[in-house]
Assembly symmetry: C2
Homo-oligomer: 577 residues x 2
Amino acid sequence: MHTFRVWAWWPRKVEVQAGHQRYAMRRGRDGWWTAKVASARPGTDYGFVLDGQGPFPDPRSAWQPKGVHGLSRLVDHRSFRWSDGGIQAQPLASAVIYELHIGTFTPEGTFEAAIEHLDHLVQLGVTHVELMPVNAFNGSRGWGYDGVDLFAVHPAYGDPDALRRLVNACHARGLAVLLDVVYNHLGPSGNYLGKYAPYFNSRYPTPWGPAVNFDGPQSDEVRRFFCDNALFWLRDYHFDGLRLDAVHAILDTSAEPFLEQLRREVKTLGAQLGRHPVLIPESDLNDPRLLWPPERGGFGLDAQWSDDFHHALHTVLTGERSGYYQDFGNLADLSQALRAAYVYDGRYSVHRRRRHGRSAAGLSGHRFVGYLQNHDQVGNRARGERMSKLVGLGRLKIGAALVLTSPFIPMLFMGEEWGASSPFQFFTDYPEPDLARAVREGRRKEFASFGWKTKDVPDPQARATFERSKLNWAERSRAPHAELLAWHRALIRLRGREPALTDGRLDLVQTRFDEAALWFVIKRGPVTVACNLAHRRQAVPVPAAPGEVLLASEDSIQLRAAGLKMPPDSVVIFRSQ
Amino acid sequence: MHTFRVWAWWPRKVEVQAGHQRYAMRRGRDGWWTAKVASARPGTDYGFVLDGQGPFPDPRSAWQPKGVHGLSRLVDHRSFRWSDGGIQAQPLASAVIYELHIGTFTPEGTFEAAIEHLDHLVQLGVTHVELMPVNAFNGSRGWGYDGVDLFAVHPAYGDPDALRRLVNACHARGLAVLLDVVYNHLGPSGNYLGKYAPYFNSRYPTPWGPAVNFDGPQSDEVRRFFCDNALFWLRDYHFDGLRLDAVHAILDTSAEPFLEQLRREVKTLGAQLGRHPVLIPESDLNDPRLLWPPERGGFGLDAQWSDDFHHALHTVLTGERSGYYQDFGNLADLSQALRAAYVYDGRYSVHRRRRHGRSAAGLSGHRFVGYLQNHDQVGNRARGERMSKLVGLGRLKIGAALVLTSPFIPMLFMGEEWGASSPFQFFTDYPEPDLARAVREGRRKEFASFGWKTKDVPDPQARATFERSKLNWAERSRAPHAELLAWHRALIRLRGREPALTDGRLDLVQTRFDEAALWFVIKRGPVTVACNLAHRRQAVPVPAAPGEVLLASEDSIQLRAAGLKMPPDSVVIFRSQ
């Protein structure tokens, strides 16, 4: 016996089709319809028939074995045998996050296959695995940001219990697991929510279609849907936190904004479960309100991605200046990022053609995720090149050192630790020819404006684009990958050992640099990180007399009482005398 | 000699036409163009020629003597002889505001004519005059919310110095002056701003057209325009504060939102001038963030209009329940309004079909403007009926008593004090036939949905609709107007005399009421206000033994130790023994 429930505000009549039969449903006052069906049980396929049309998938379907247009299947969320009882995720203050995409992390592209590589992550030293979205989208291949069934796992990756096995296996190894969720829009293909109720809001368009209705009529129930989704992943899949995609595209004028409600409900669940689930928004607003505590009028989210630190670091290492990189490129920006998180804290942005952001003063570095690469920064390039295609080993080591000794929560993007040779390209698999064409042409047009020729921009719909983006695990034990991997391991070990490196107080970060000579030095308590970014060997003045070398990217770095002599593109980390 | 300056981001060539000559202007890096013209002086008519088209009016024109499509005229803002040197506006905590519309306040409808009626306001006892928008819009008649020249006075009301004479005359009588400004949109007719620069933002539509660009590219300069406008009225016209129209329609995702910047700049100007200009937003968000201080993550605005108090009071007095009034109607709502400002503080709103608002706990009643009537609540009715057309004298007196003894900043709408017999209808005067037709038909259609027949909805474009809305000053000395006027004067005097009535601490307001018997009692320290809203004489229990009667709407009210005996629709204010 199962009681089907669905919120269907628009239809005047709703039935549930379960097995081969249809059953009338009864409407409650609030637009929720219910029907008890004696024969329904886990494994039963079902859908809802709205005013005689359908059946359509359940908006809260937990399993779409035949894809986003197919029937939903009842799932028993209670039968899985968890063995992670006492696990507590490491606090973000001492975390190192590893972002991965299930489809390309392994040749098989499944939850099951990912489990086999967890020991690599443990050896690497990361503490948190962050899965790019795993909920169902149309087609088999995709990044996951066009999901439409927010409660269902993407069938190409495995079934619900396979995802549970992955989370369980992470926990068994002491790894916490974060999930990337998209609450700012739904994908264009297979989105049936609008047939049920006013989930969308035509008042505020987003770049990806109509915005979610977080503040219009009936929005309480829409907010319920998204809050329940967050609680569902945390409770029924044991995730340790959520990464919230592009929250700047959540437009909401409510007196209690959705994000504040979400935080409140997630923290309440955490208290009930005796856990500390975290919420990590991506935002391009440089608005500390996301992080301020509620008493300060903020949303109290745990940490936000720091694109400013990325852009400052990326431009310094690559010399790139196009698009949004035009706002960065000086060592002063990198210094500002390390000492204040936001480079744009009210400063005029040439790219945005307005002042941008406000000061994050008073917030710990632990409220920001710092990275040299992530899926967007790699994958949104025309050809999805990783840093390892853009700069040499010396600069890769500098980049890694600056991220992994930073006052932020460091994050790596899968394969970054060994300088993976595979790109991470933009891939899709829309079965609808019109949509496929639009995506393909949109991508080409986007990059044509940057001077790319059509033939040089990979076709997102091609299977080869997806295959090409898979990690090649074999290469990691070969030169020069093995050396870079060892460097990352050593840095993460060092970070775990040196309390100064995980000190989040940004006002204690000291920097010295020379834009012309191209050296950059960071002092964090007794630990100094010195980088030579010049193409020539040079002396780098340091704020304290060098003592013990903790890590050096090259043997030929010379430490003297007066300073350092460093070869081109090198970095050294030492303790003061 | 005059240096013309204009921000013109779009055009590639800008000239100024001054007198009968055109002069080339020079573009600065930021899109500001300048030209020195030796022959230009106050009184010179001018316009800007954009890429050979025009001349168009100056976006910052201070005077459009020939209307919104005509040339701008240079104004000398420094020659006026102010005589209000030492005046300080009364703090809002002890203020009583009087809202008026220049065009209908007097038969002449001018600034000059308004001066002659200021003594009436002084005798009434109000402290602040609030002018509905006086900046230039197209046509001669209108409420003013479709203004397009934000720095220019509406020519039908008088010239810039006439407005100064009015402000000066108010100050001479100890009256402060507030100005209503519209920063959420511009009117549809005569709006040339879009030809100059990206003042508008198609991303967020408002009910009245494209939204102002407060957060897109070039928005710094757009924000400058609006901030400068606020500073201009405060500095160059000596206004004591601004009422900000419908700030919920200002959509702005900036880390420092426009309203916060505006507040900062206005307070800085105040400090420079040794004055305390106030900002009073209208907002339908029930969001205390508008009022919270910046340290609490708020915008720190001084006080907001309280529609919840209005709606609670209006529905109790009239029994009306249509449209947004469906969310109100109980004495419990009135009690909640008096004790918490927001009736909707997160509660579910049937009208909005979602939860609405959040708690205003901790905020003083002095952060809310309370009223029984205002231009919107009267004028947005199909026929613009005032309360005096809807209820009898007894209930008018109750309404006045509840507003003028409330913990809020009381506000009256012109003529309310004598129960003016003239309506305040919606009137416009668009010369464009299409726009005129659209407004006329839109108005009829809006009210047709409430069951109004076309012939019963006044034509907004008809001169008669405007004329009909003018106050009839002669009637105020006749019965029953004179009695109501005396009642208002007495209430305002009492408010000035009894510190308990201007105590803003909402948590000290005590109420008792009976929804069935229809009595309502408010206790504020030693002062009690008791109302009988029933159609029959009845005993009204009171929390403290009645002592001295301070004011009574009827002679037949009997005070006894055990309670009161009150005739229908009566109110008494007494001090406890």
